[in-house]
């Protein structure tokens, strides 16, 4: 469970997030949606503490993250998994070393236990046997999957994904979305996903939060989203012709 209360963030006096309060539940795939530039990435980075908020608090399972010192934050973060927009794999390490990284850093597992765990995670994302490849040798979809394997290797309690399917073809995108949704259930994580992809909303969205120009504009479930009469959200949802046609069919 993650609770965000009244957070504000501006860059050089330019407000990007305005008084956002929202909570995200455990075991669910929570989506943060909005147009490009609406502040989704900034919100996610504030929540994980990569950016400092100007005001407001963030609570992880009731613990106030904002008031923690560096060491305490580092401790909490060992329970984080994050999937960055560009995957952010470590270039100088191969797939296995990338996935094993947290095990080397934070556990006293034996080499055998580590390699079993790595193989398990790689298998889970359908990349069994790719251990020796380097990030430069992987396709966009494979990089994202390695990043997922790396994120789940230490059984995180919280998973954060920034545009997990940007730059991927629709089929691969759906596969990544499904993977995120499945592992959320498997590991009973609190998952936050940033996206502007309506497909993801329909496929995996449980709780959906719509951000409009840095404001929390709407929240609800993915079913409710089609029925809403919120004009901005409607514009966002029915932006493409194909969805408009679907709505027409639905109305008949």
């Amino acid at each position: 469970m993650i609770e965000v209360t009244h957070i504000n963030k501006s860059f050089d006096g330019q407000p990007v997030l305005n008084d956002i309060s929202v909570s995200f539940e455990q075991g669910k795939t929570n989506l943060i949606i909005g147009r490009s530039g609406s502040g989704k990435t900034v919100l996610l980075k504030c929540i994980v503490g990569l950016l400092e908020t100007d005001s407001g608090n963030i609570f992880y399972s009731g613990q106030c993250f904002t008031s923690m010192n560096r060491k305490e934050k580092q401790k909490i973060r060992q329970g984080f998994g994050m999937l960055f927009q560009g995957a952010a794999l470590f270039d100088s390490l191969n797939v296995e070393e990338n996935v094993r990284f947290k095990l080397d850093m934070f556990t006293t597992m034996t080499p055998k236990e580590k390699s079993e765990r790595v193989d398990f995670c790689l298998k889970r994302v359908n990349l069994a046997g790719k251990n020796r490849l380097y990030p430069a040798e992987l396709s966009g979809g494979m990089k994202k999957r390695v990043a997922i394997a790396r994120a789940i290797v230490l059984n995180p309690r919280y998973l954060f994904c920034d545009e997990p399917n940007s730059g991927l073809d629709p089929q691969t995108a759906i596969m990544i979305d499904k993977l995120i949704s499945e592992i959320t259930k498997e590991f009973n994580m609190t998952t936050l996903v940033n996206t502007h992809d309506l497909n993801s909303v329909m496929e995996i969205g449980e709780k959906v939060v719509y951000i409009h120009e840095g404001n929390l504009w709407w929240e609800g479930t993915s079913e409710e989203i089609l029925e809403t009469d919120n004009p901005e959200l409607n514009d966002f949802v029915f932006a493409t012709k194909i969805v408009k046609q679907l709505k027409k069919l639905d109305d008949i």
Binding site: R77, M82, D104, M105
Partner: protein, 246 residues
């Protein structure tokens, strides 16, 4: 940002780099990798440049002291002192600032703009300590060796060039390099090389770590790393010379 802000931010980053590692084993492995990358891979360039500089110093000294008033062993003596006092520490440090400094800044800068540093932080790893400390330690450990290598190769370069061109004989040269030899000069030179190693690695890491933007800015950080390390090296060369030799 003004100079004071830079110095403040730099100091905090260096301080953060020197914190307790999460895993000693991982850091030890990183140290070995960096020693190879930064130190061992620099031996070639240090050797080549030292050889030719030693050669040129010897020949120039010879041509400038052709008067019979100067004893022939002075050539070896002058070459030795130039090499030990200035060349093997300061000039080698400036060359390393170009090679190692740009390498460090572009590596860390690329990790910054591709969010790899954020990824480290999110895992609960102290990214400054993980990335920067092994680099500082690696170059500090190896700089004295590079410096000594430079001294030896420089003196050999001077000997080969001097005798080949015929400006000095082998006995004169060898007598010269042993004449009133002050061992403290070597200590002085090695101390300087360690300080310069610290400057190169920390200043370059600072520029890489605080890169913002994309590929273009990584290039810019890399250039700034070389320029600023070089200026700071020259400044500290002056300070250290005054402190250690006065």
């Amino acid at each position: 940002m003004n100079l004071l802000e830079h110095i403040g931010k730099y100091t905090l980053l260096v301080k953060r780099s020197f914190s307790r590692p999460e895993s000693h084993k991982v850091y030890y492995k990183r140290l070995v990798t960096e020693m190879e990358l930064l130190g061992i891979n620099s031996t070639g360039i240090v050797a080549i440049i030292s050889f030719f500089m030693g050669a040129v110093i010897t020949i120039q000294t010879a041509y400038n002291t052709e008067s019979p008033l100067f004893p022939a062993y002075l050539i070896g003596l002058a070459a030795r002192d130039a090499i030990i006092l200035e060349f093997s520490s300061t000039i080698v440090a400036l060359i390393l600032a170009g090679k190692v400094g740009s390498n460090i800044a572009s590596e860390i800068g690329t990790m910054r703009v591709t969010e790899q540093i954020d990824a480290l932080e999110i895992m609960g790893v102290n990214s400054a300590a993980y990335l920067i400390l092994p680099k500082i330690m690696a170059l500090i450990i190896l700089a004295p060796f590079l410096s000594m290598l430079s001294m030896v190769v420089g003196v050999i370069g001077g000997w080969i060039a001097g005798t080949t061109v015929g400006v000095v004989t082998t006995p004169d040269y060898i007598y010269g390099i042993q004449y009133v030899f002050i061992p403290y000069y070597i200590v002085y030179s090695l101390i300087k090389s360690v300080v310069f190693a610290f400057i190169i690695t920390t200043v370059s890491s600072y520029h890489g770590y605080y890169t913002r933007g994309g590929a273009l800015e990584v290039g810019r950080s890399s250039t700034l790393a070389v320029v600023h390390s070089s200026v700071v090296i020259l400044l500290f060369n002056l300070i250290l010379t005054q402190l250690l030799l006065s």
